[in-house]
């Protein structure tokens, strides 16, 4: 008897599509993936749509509208295993910068007809709305890690996506620390690994694309940034980017508001 393939669906909320595209980018592995899993919904790849329920849902993007806040509940109800992918889905994304301001002010400045706009005050992570089974970090996610999560799901094992610092990968790669050797501020010591220390590999500090690591000591790192001559404003901006609304980063940027 042919084994029944699990059904995979990819869902999009407020996002740039970069994370879903990482899946399309898995060119070599895509055929193998299609052998093992039925792609039931993946608008970036195909118009075909197969009705739920779904075994594995990958959710990209944050919740920014009342309509999406409802839609995510429907998706949760039709998904056995729900994985959020990327900084938007796991932390609210770059669009969560509006959470620090009044969104109505933006609307009145940007749109000719503000009354057409139906939006929430804040851009929030999927986990703020529904139960999430696994979060894959990154802006964008690393395609090797995405394949790892899917392989782990298919083979019923725990994915290997460690929550330690970027520094560990940086040292394992034999990179000379940019903070110690050049005095360049680097978010690596408080940032979740996953990018394989991409920026330090190119001789620059980490931007924190993968969000806070386990037990991140952001205030100790800020003190070091100060010692390196950074202003409160610069420290605030360093923590307030793609993952600026992830709690440890949010609190750290707020502590440097003047």
């Amino acid at each position: 008897m042919a084994k029944k393939k699990p059904k995979l669906a990819v869902w999009k909320f407020a996002s740039c599509d970069g994370c879903q595209l990482s899946l399309l980018d898995c060119e070599d592995e895509l055929l193998a993936l299609a052998e093992e899993i039925e792609i039931a919904n993946f608008p970036e790849a195909s118009r075909a749509f197969i009705k739920g329920p779904y075994d594995l849902s990958l959710v990209e993007g944050s919740i920014t509208t009342p309509h999406d806040a409802e839609r995510i509940h429907k998706i949760r109800r039709s998904s056995k295993f729900l994985v959020t992918i990327g900084a938007c889905a796991t932390a609210g994304g770059i669009q969560a910068l509006r959470n620090f301001k009044d969104v109505n002010e933006f609307i009145s400045i940007v749109y000719a007809n503000p009354s057409y706009i139906d939006t929430l005050q804040k851009s929030t992570a999927i986990a703020d709305h529904v139960r999430v089974d696994f979060e894959l970090r990154g802006c964008p996610i690393n395609k090797a890690q995405l394949l790892e999560v899917i392989s782990a799901y298919l083979n019923k094992r725990k994915p290997v996506t460690p929550a330690h610092s970027v520094c560990m990968d940086c040292k394992r790669k034999g990179i000379v620390c940019v903070m110690v050797s050049k005095g360049d501020p680097c978010l690596g010591p408080v940032t979740h690994a996953g990018c394989d220390a991409l920026c330090p590999s190119y001789n620059r500090g980490c931007f924190g694309c993968y969000g806070p690591k386990e037990i991140p000591n952001t205030s100790a790192l800020s003190k070091e940034f100060k010692r390196l001559g950074k202003t409160n404003e610069e420290i605030k901006l360093a923590f307030r980017s793609f993952n600026g609304y992830a709690e440890p980063f949010r609190k750290e940027s707020e502590a440097h508001e003047e």
């Binding site: 330690h164 560990m168 790669k173 034999g174 110690v180 386990e214 100790a220």
Partner: protein, 376 residues
């Protein structure tokens, strides 16, 4: 062994060539980016001639010297551990075979390393890892093969770095453990030479081939003075007297909380340390599940996964992680391996992004030693 000889700069090139001829892969200090790192070298041209390093807590810069010293700096960011105990290695592959599977071990190859410019503290660190990996009941086969033919050209330090404290740990600056060749670099007004001691038969036969002259007493004296001067100018000091008891008696000292407020639990100290040996294993499969791999990677007591067992993490705060790291290194290591786990190379101090200094932490605990104060 015979009386030390004298080798000049040019003959040093012949030595490297000789080692290459004998099939050794020569690794030594060389400039990459803005640091002096250990990498492949093929002649003295690759050495950081005229450069030094400036090291302090959380601080490293390379600077021009006003002479042409070849070894006028201290230890590199990444220790020799990267070659003997590589940061990531595949242990085996497994292929599915119907309902069973087949394990295919990795083929190991002897790299035949010759390390040029190993410092005394680093030789001690290698000896410590030998104890862990190849002298106990469980042999690490990758380390074993990498270590097998290792040829060491050691260097007696002509200066101490800002974070060095080998004198406190009795691991330097003069090479005093197993080595093949040991050089002392001498720079005088118009002379630049190395006094070379021989520590093994295989080194002796190489040296004989180079046709060197015997060192004069005056030259030996100058070399000794250089090393003495280094010993008197250590960047740091660690009081090791009764250190095991002191640390064990102060496990609830408030200093642990204070250091945890500064510590990032980033693990840089453990990655940079030449004696830290912990690894984790990661099992991965491909999409089909027909192919699996087991990888070994450097791990650290500063990660949560390190102590994850059924029911949760044993050490789930930075305070307990830092305390584990330091008490293992300086205290329980003594019970486990009959020596300190620290050789005083200073890397954990230099490469800590926030400049936490273990010598300062020990001194702070001693200063307000709880047991001593309670007894007053």
């Amino acid at each position: 062994m015979d009386k030390p000889s004298v080798i000049d700069k040019e003959d040093l090139n012949k030595l490297i060539a000789k080692l290459n001829q004998q099939g050794y892969k020569t690794i030594g200090p060389t400039i990459r980016g803005e640091a002096i790192v250990y990498d492949r070298i093929s002649s003295i041209e690759d050495l950081p001639e005229g450069w030094t390093d400036e090291q302090g807590p959380g601080h490293y810069r390379i600077k021009k010297r006003n002479d042409k010293a070849l070894f006028g700096f201290n230890v590199s960011p990444h220790s020799w551990k990267q070659f003997l105990h590589p940061p990531e290695k595949k242990l085996w592959t497994a292929e599915k075979n119907g309902s069973s599977f087949k394990i295919i071990p990795e083929e190991l190859e002897n790299p035949k390393f010759a390390f040029i410019g190993v410092r005394s503290c680093e030789l001690h660190a290698i000896a410590i890892q030998d104890k862990v990996f190849i002298q106990g009941p469980h042999i690490d086969s990758v380390y074993q093969i990498n270590r097998k033919d290792l040829f060491t050209v050691a260097v007696n330090c002509g200066q101490a770095g800002g974070t060095c404290f080998c004198v406190s740990m009795q691991t330097g600056p003069k090479v005093n453990s197993e080595f093949d060749l040991a050089l002392t670099e001498v720079l005088e007004k118009d002379k630049h030479y190395f006094v070379v001691e021989t520590g093994s038969d295989r080194a002796q036969s190489i040296i004989e081939n180079l046709d060197l002259r015997t060192a004069e007493n005056q030259e030996l004296k100058i070399a000794e003075e250089i090393i003495d001067n280094t010993a008197q100018n250590m960047g740091r000091f660690l009081d090791t007297e009764g250190i095991k008891e002191t640390l064990f008696e102060n496990l609830e000292h408030p200093r642990w909380e204070e250091v945890a407020n500064r510590c990032l639990s980033c693990a840089n100290c453990t990655m940079a340390c030449p004696t830290c040996f912990c690894s984790t294993v990661e099992d991965v499969t491909d999409i089909t599940g027909d192919h699996a791999e087991r990888w070994q990677k450097w791990d650290s007591c500063f990660t949560m996964d390190f102590t994850y067992i059924h029911g949760g993490h044993v050490r789930n705060s930075t305070k307990s992680q830092y305390r584990q790291w330091m008490t293992h290194k300086l205290a329980s290591w003594i019970d486990q391996f009959d020596s300190s786990g620290c050789v005083g190379c200073g890397r954990c101090i230099t490469w800590c992004p926030v400049g936490i200094d273990l010598t300062e932490e020990v001194a702070a605990i001693r200063k307000s030693d709880k047991t001593k104060i309670d007894n007053i």
